[in-house]
Symmetry: none
Subunit: 207 residues, 4 copies
């Protein structure tokens, strides 16, 4: 059937736009990317981006929500309360870290939004809030409700330890020997995070 794009091809274009937008936004930030850039990278007509996504803002929101959906489902799977505390926390760290590895643009996308203009702050807030609730839940009975050792602080600290590694990677590559996002480097970082959790848990127990 020449001339008539098959159904799979149709969704293809919409998806290709989404993927291109994801990469470009992640690399360069919302403002630095033009719809023309996205269309070109996706190999589609510029007007088609608007046909499918309405506006540049909406497209960006779609990219974000898409991440949050898979983000949430990734973490939810690791939240079952079985086993001892260490195992449970270890599973969370792994799930979070796996997600970051699989979605490399995510960290930068989120940090840009948090540090930048508050245009899409609501989405971010929802996500952060959810993450914090989970941290609180995971540390229940271990961390106090208030003060410097509260789960709230642990959340910020762990989030930073988790996410900043991926955003710093590009800037630190020339300084460190080797690529911080290579497999062995990632394994090392994962081990660091596990160690950090262990140390903090011990500290909390001692308190």
């Amino acid at each position: 059937m020449p001339g008539k794009p098959s159904e799979s091809k149709r969704k293809d274009k919409s998806l290709r736009i989404l993927v291109a937008a994801d990469e470009l936004f992640g690399e360069q930030g919302y403002d630095a990317v033009s719809v023309r850039d996205i269309a070109r990278a996706a190999g589609v007509n510029k007007a088609l981006v608007f046909y499918y996504f309405g506006s540049k803002e909406d497209l960006f929101a779609r990219v974000l929500t898409r991440y949050y959906e898979s983000h949430r489902s990734a973490l939810e799977g690791a939240l079952d309360a079985s086993g001892p505390l260490d195992k449970r926390l270890g599973r969370l760290v792994d799930a979070y870290f796996d997600f970051m590895v699989a979605n490399r643009s995510f960290a930068r996308l989120v940090q840009q939004q948090i540090a930048g203009p508050g245009t899409h702050l609501e989405l971010i807030q929802q996500n952060l809030t959810e993450l914090e609730r989970w941290t609180e839940h995971a540390l229940e009975g271990l961390a106090p409700n208030d003060g410097p050792l509260a789960a709230r602080h642990m959340f910020v600290t762990f989030s930073g330890a988790m996410i900043n590694y991926f955003t710093y990677a590009r800037a630190l590559r020339p300084v460190w020997g080797g690529d911080p996002l290579a497999d062995d480097a990632l394994a090392e970082r994962r081990a660091h995070l596990h160690w950090l959790v262990g140390v903090v848990v011990q500290g909390l127990k001692a308190a």
Copy 2:
């Protein structure tokens, strides 16, 4: 003599531009801020921005370098090697934290650049590298040279714990009770960081 620009007013305009740029860039990011915005916020003619700073890029670089200079001098003051390890690290944490408190746009400015297009990545790289060297120096003899406990990882982790609190603040304000940047909340965060350092040091010693 109102209306007549006194001598102190002269450098004033250049400074007002710098301050306005600092705030706006910090709040909204490089791309989202126009020179017109900056000029308006500084209360000066748009062309004057170019008269004093040459280009938007140069102005941004000036804002960054200005931070880095005071950042460096702030940390250098805390680097003397006297006293036991805990005291020394404690001084570093305080110095860093004090700097963040005093320069609220800094964290967001840096995170934007690190997560974003990297146009001014070189400046950031210099600064990050310097910070990392200091961390390595401060942990000398305590942290191994390689592996998950290396100073390199400690640097990323602490940097995240330090800086992300300030960038997350705006997004988390509605969730937490009270302003994360209020005096008492800041004191609490500072205590958390000191505690974190203690816990990590203990973990390193035990390793």
Copy 3:
């Protein structure tokens, strides 16, 4: 159907821009003409100029190349080597002169570039070189290869005699009686050029 752009109207806009640019550049020179001027003269939106031509420089280059193409084909048609020398040279003079009459902006456009900043000098150079080769070819066997009577000098002299009449026209109109670009005045100039060729050829033969 007024108001509805017919198919012929489509390429119309791009062409109207080209024509407007031609006239304005010819009259006022590259720098003195703004894209706004061109758009206004063409009756189109300013951004459309960039949509079709990319940049002001490219638009100017298009105007020039367009001339050169027709210039070349006009002269090529007059270059066949049949008949006696006088006839052949006469045909060349007529072809060149016809072209100048039909493309009134051309002379000024070229002189501006030659005398001016030379931004588009390459195009001019190509064209001039080609013209010179033709002159050399046409005078082969008659003019020496070197010295004050070389074809090279004849080329500059004839080119000046040909082109300057059209550029001087505007400045000399008030002095001369009547319009130098009116039909009878042009016929007179054409006769002058034929006479000049005759006189020069005779001089070359006598040498």
Copy 4:
């Protein structure tokens, strides 16, 4: 007397501006040169240009008039009616050519104005008119008052032969072997012009 610029230094600045303007206008054209460029090239403060010359336009006019004054005096000296026709015309050609050689920007400055916007057309007109009257005077009794052989046409032809060599020089340098403005090349061109005058005079006599 340190700190106090001597009188000669004062006129120095005004002159340096004039010279810089001359060169830059000649090279790049009126529009392409900014007052800042001129001031920088002259090594003076930008505002001083306005102090001395009032406006960019006025400065340009000054550059032109300055040329015309020396142009006129150069030619007037060659206009005495003594000696036979050949000698008289030869002296004119030499005087004109000498002037062009000594004032290399002149040709381009004039051609720019003639071909470009008519902003300073009046000055040019005056000068051209004067030149034409002289040509008519020099050819009195030889050339008819009207028709293709009129002095009017001779003027345009000779003017073109004279001036275009200097404007074409830059564009043709790569094509010709050697620099068209080198001493020997100039001598050759001068010989060409003398030959041309001779040939034309002969043709006029024969008519």
